[in-house]
């Protein structure tokens, strides 16, 4: 048995899984606060990656400035999408809304292929040192940054929803919109904020993935990969999204290991998460962390 490879793949799984977790959080955030299943989440991520790359390559801006500009762009983008596309759909059946987000995802995909092209492009070199040595292990700086950013985003999410005024307002809106309004919370603002945050954070994930590998149309596939993660964790649980993301990431890489070493079927990596999805749905239809309603007895 190839222990080194297994270890390597497990670490990979955790790194990728954390990123899935981040995107899953964005997905859950929108679903929870606005009851929209956003099939275009992967395109948000890809758009962020492309826009940041564009700033860095075309305008040769320093990384942090390009990064911040991208964040600003994505926030505005999220708000505009919410206002133009989803606000008119408030109160429509969920299936119509799903159709619209699927359509929007195709639209964005084509638009981005048209503007940015189809070939994969790598980010310019951002870190001086490409590899750091931690306790005898050589670790790529990009991977370290990936972990650090993912964890940082998760901590910020946690603090935001636990302590901040707007975080509490968003949770109240997710619980019951009428109650939230009776407290003086503007639902319109909450919806806009949910989409803005979701777009910005997805973009961060996109940029990280772009830096670790490269930016290409294939990145939007993560939007689909995130589904098993979200469903495993429970559609309405942000913690569940993170746990689901890590589980999917690790299992994906384990599947790769088993396949590469023993089975030689090929492409297990791609489909394993969906098998897991089916099994989990059979055992726990509401996901691992899907919260039941509180009933006092």
């Amino acid at each position: 048995m190839n222990w080194d490879l297994l270890f390597q793949l497990l670490i990979n799984g955790v790194i990728v899984g954390l990123l899935y977790g981040v995107v899953a959080m964005c997905f859950v955030l929108i679903y929870k606060s606005t009851q929209v299943v956003n099939f275009a989440q992967g395109e948000f991520l890809l758009l962020g990656a492309w826009v940041c790359l564009y700033f860095l390559v075309e305008y040769e801006l320093p990384f942090w400035i390009g990064f911040l500009l991208t964040m600003g762009f994505m926030a505005v983008f999220g708000i505009v999408v919410q206002m133009l596309i989803l606000r008119p759909l408030i109160g429509e059946p969920i299936i119509s809304i799903i159709m619209v987000t699927i359509g929007f995802s195709s639209f964005m995909q084509s638009l981005m292929s048209w503007i940015f092209g189809n070939s994969a492009v790598s980010y310019p070199k951002i870190f001086e040192v490409e590899v750091v040595n931690i306790g005898g292990l050589n670790v790529e700086t990009a991977y370290l940054m990936s972990i650090a950013m993912s964890v940082a985003i998760m901590i910020i999410f946690f603090l935001f929803f636990r302590y901040s005024r707007f975080g509490l307002a968003m949770r109240a809106t997710a619980y019951n919109q009428q109650i939230a309004q009776s407290l003086g919370i503007s639902i319109k603002h909450v919806f806009m904020m949910a989409w803005a945050i979701s777009a910005v954070v997805s973009a961060v994930a996109g940029i990280i993935i772009g830096m670790v590998s490269a930016v290409s149309t294939a990145l939007s596939f993560i939007g689909i990969k995130v589904f098993p993660a979200v469903i495993v964790g429970g559609m309405d649980s942000i913690v569940g999204g993170v746990v689901g993301g890590v589980i999917i990431g690790v299992l994906e890489n384990l599947a790769e290991f088993v396949d590469g070493q023993y089975l030689h079927i090929g492409n297990m990596y791609q489909i394993a998460p969906f098998y897991i999805l089916i099994v989990i749905l059979m055992i726990k239809p509401y996901g691992l962390f899907g919260t039941p309603d509180i009933e006092r007895v």
């Binding site: 005024r165 509490l168 307002a169 949770r171 109240a172 619980y175 019951n176 919109q177 009428q178 109650i179 309004q181 009776s182 407290l183 003086g184 919370i185 503007s186 639902i187 919260t291 309603d293 509180i294 006092r296």
Partner: protein, 275 residues
């Protein structure tokens, strides 16, 4: 005109003038309802099920907009400004806070988080001080806040207290209270009404109280209205209403000079419907 506005300002914090409310553009629920709430006083709005009491409160707080209803005629003046049709979050910012029927607390958040939410619209204040002020009225909540579980696990009475306490956090000028006695035991109803009275005395908050429990409401209130079929049919000070024969008959249980058999009561009621 200016003088008239001045007068409304001093006498009434809220005056609802001849409003009509329509749901889904066809169902007429309120037909020309008018009422006034005196500043710093408790005003009770009584009536049977379906009379339109909750709708009246929602028309004032703007929550009607969230239920496909609208004020199609008339005006609602709060401190001299017409607030009819204003969105609920703006109404809260003006100082009107509705404690919703069925308590309306966020069940999966903790007690303290619920209280903090109450102060959502406020700026520049000390959160801990404000929470202490609420605990001053509701010592029970203070005990329960220590454990920090989800508010959904609180008892019905505690949830009602939390809902009222959360209203205090917003520091409103006028609280609209929708059936605070709903689903509570008689002892708890007494406790809750005692607290409402104290809030009114100590903080000077004006209160518009909607109730089915007419006895409790008239004991706590200064002034009362009775509504039926979307209209006010009777008004007067709480004392007047308590001593009114018809009110006694319909809402307070008993009344009338001689004992009546069931048969008599029935025919009497039919004859004496207000509308």
């Amino acid at each position: 005109m200016a003088q008239a506005a001045q007068k409304t300002n001093t006498d009434y914090i809220l005056s609802v003038n001849n409003i009509e409310v329509v749901y889904s553009e066809v169902i007429l629920v309120l037909r020309g309802l008018s009422l006034n709430v005196q500043r710093g006083k408790i005003t009770a709005l009584l009536g049977a099920n379906g009379a339109g009491k909750s709708t009246t409160l929602k028309a004032i707080s703007g929550l009607l907009n969230t239920e496909d209803g609208e004020v199609s005629r008339g005006s609602i003046n709060f401190e001299g400004q017409n607030i009819a049709g204003t969105s609920p979050d703006k109404v809260v910012r003006k100082g009107v806070f509705q404690v919703m029927e069925g308590r309306g607390i966020v069940q999966d958040m903790t007690l303290l988080e619920n209280l903090k939410l109450g102060a959502f619209t406020r700026k520049n204040f000390n959160m801990n001080e404000e929470i202490e002020k609420v605990f001053h009225f509701f010592p029970r909540l203070k005990e329960r806040s220590i454990t920090g579980g989800a508010a959904g696990y609180l008892s019905g009475g505690e949830q009602q207290m939390l809902a009222i306490g959360r209203a205090l956090m917003a520091k409103p000028k006028l609280i609209l209270m929708d059936e605070p006695s709903m689903g509570l035991s008689p002892l708890l109803v007494k406790e809750v009404f005692g607290i409402i009275k104290r809030m009114n005395d100590e903080l000077g908050i004006s209160i518009l109280l909607v109730e089915q429990n007419a006895t409790m409401a008239l004991n706590a209130a200064d002034f009362g209205y009775i509504m039926e079929n979307g209209k006010i049919v009777l008004d007067g000070t709480a004392e007047e209403l308590k001593n009114n024969e018809d009110v006694k008959e319909f809402y307070l249980g008993g009344g009338g000079d001689e004992r009546k058999s069931f048969k008599n009561i029935k025919s009497f009621k039919r004859r004496k419907r207000w509308l």
